[in-house]
């Protein structure tokens, strides 16, 4: 079995675990809406976070009932991208929201190791 096959298999397993995740936003996040954007502030964060529209949309969807897999499918349809890209986008959004203290649980145990690479982007050709 080639190294590439092993990596692909590990990635598929990681994606399956991620898709089963049911993330939930804290219900006590203070959210203020303005004409040009949204600011959200978790009670456990020292500072508020200006949210991009996509982050705002994701935060609103994290009701503890919708799985990450469902969200991946929704994002793929809305953004008109494939599931792998949508999954990466969702991972990054969840990391951002978790870092700002807006989720009820940590995602660390279900996130792919790829998120921790020093150079996560592929090298320029």
């Amino acid at each position: 079995v080639s190294t590439g096959d092993e990596e692909g298999s590990a990635q598929a397993q990681g994606d399956a675990v991620f898709d089963a995740l049911v993330p939930r936003a804290r219900d006590d996040v203070l959210v203020r809406r303005y004409d040009d954007g949204v600011v959200a502030w978790s009670p456990i964060s020292p500072r508020p976070l200006p949210l991009e529209p996509l982050s705002d949309a994701v935060l609103n969807l994290l009701d503890g009932e919708v799985s990450a897999g469902d969200l991946v499918a929704d994002l793929a349809a809305v953004l008109e991208v494939g599931d792998p890209v949508a999954r990466d986008v969702l991972r990054r959004e969840l990391w951002l929201l978790e870092d700002a203290g807006m989720l009820t649980t940590s995602l660390t145990t279900v996130m792919s190791d790829r998120e921790h690479e020093v150079f996560p982007a592929p090298p320029d050709p």
């Binding site: 203070l30 009670p43 508020p48 200006p50």
Partner: protein
């Protein structure tokens, strides 16, 4: 010049003041006798004497920012005494924000949000030329009616000293905020949500998140100027407008 120091505990914050002037150190020791402690504390401020009579006494904070350049050591002590007052709790009902207050006159104040006026020292001569005075506090306490509501420093031995030109102690009367200066943090014009988040992040714990966001929103309803960080002259120009 031999530097000596004293260690203080002010409302639970321990800090060391380094002072090269023995007479000023003695005055400081006397004025702050109730705050003196024996254990070494982290450096908070340093007061340096001029190498010759033609130069200035310089007061620095722990970051190395020049807080004052003054002719006489008593003036430096007055500025220091005012800065130490920032370690005391804010008056009830106010929200404390990391900013400098600048007084164009006795009736209004300009609020200069961090990191403006924190990265480069304010120059007394430029302030004087523009008829401005900087309040010697690294924080500003703002009441719900958008006035400065700051408590005077409680050390008569320091607050009774002559205040140097271009400087002012914390105003004890409520003073309306006439203009708010915010830093340009991005190349593009900041959005309202960017500015609310930035200003709210500058507020200090002690008030609720709702109150802190409320202050940020209210400040943005005042006359607003976005000032470039890399151009020291822009700050003075905005203050004079």
């Amino acid at each position: 010049v031999r530097a000596d120091a004293l260690d203080l505990d002010i409302a639970g914050t321990r800090l060391r003041v380094i002072c090269e002037d023995p007479a000023a150190l003695a005055a400081l020791r006397s004025a702050l006798s109730d705050q003196l402690i024996d254990e070494p504390a982290p450096v908070g401020f340093a007061m340096c004497v001029p190498p010759d009579a033609s130069k200035f006494h310089v007061l620095l904070d722990r970051s190395g920012l020049v807080l004052a350049r003054v002719q006489r050591s008593e003036e430096g002590l007055a500025v220091l005494g005012s800065h130490l007052g920032a370690l005391l709790p804010p008056p009830a009902g106010t929200v404390r924000i990391r900013a400098r207050a600048i007084l164009p006159d006795d009736s209004t104040a300009a609020l200069v949000a961090f990191p403006l006026a924190f990265r480069q020292p304010l120059i007394e001569r430029r302030l004087e030329r523009a008829s401005l005075r900087v309040v010697d506090r690294p924080v500003v306490d703002v009441g719900p009616d958008m006035t400065l509501q700051m408590a005077a420093s409680p050390w008569p031995g320091l607050s009774g000293l002559p205040v140097p030109a271009g400087h002012a102690p914390a105003p004890v009367e409520p003073t309306p905020i006439g203009v708010v200066l915010v830093p340009q943090l991005k190349r593009s014009e900041p959005t309202q949500s960017d500015l609310v988040a930035h200003l709210a992040a500058l507020t200090l714990p002690g008030a609720s998140h709702t109150e802190r966001l409320g202050l940020a929103e209210a400040l943005l309803r005042e006359q607003l100027a976005v000032v470039r960080l890399d151009d020291p002259a822009a700050l003075y120009a905005a203050l004079q407008r």
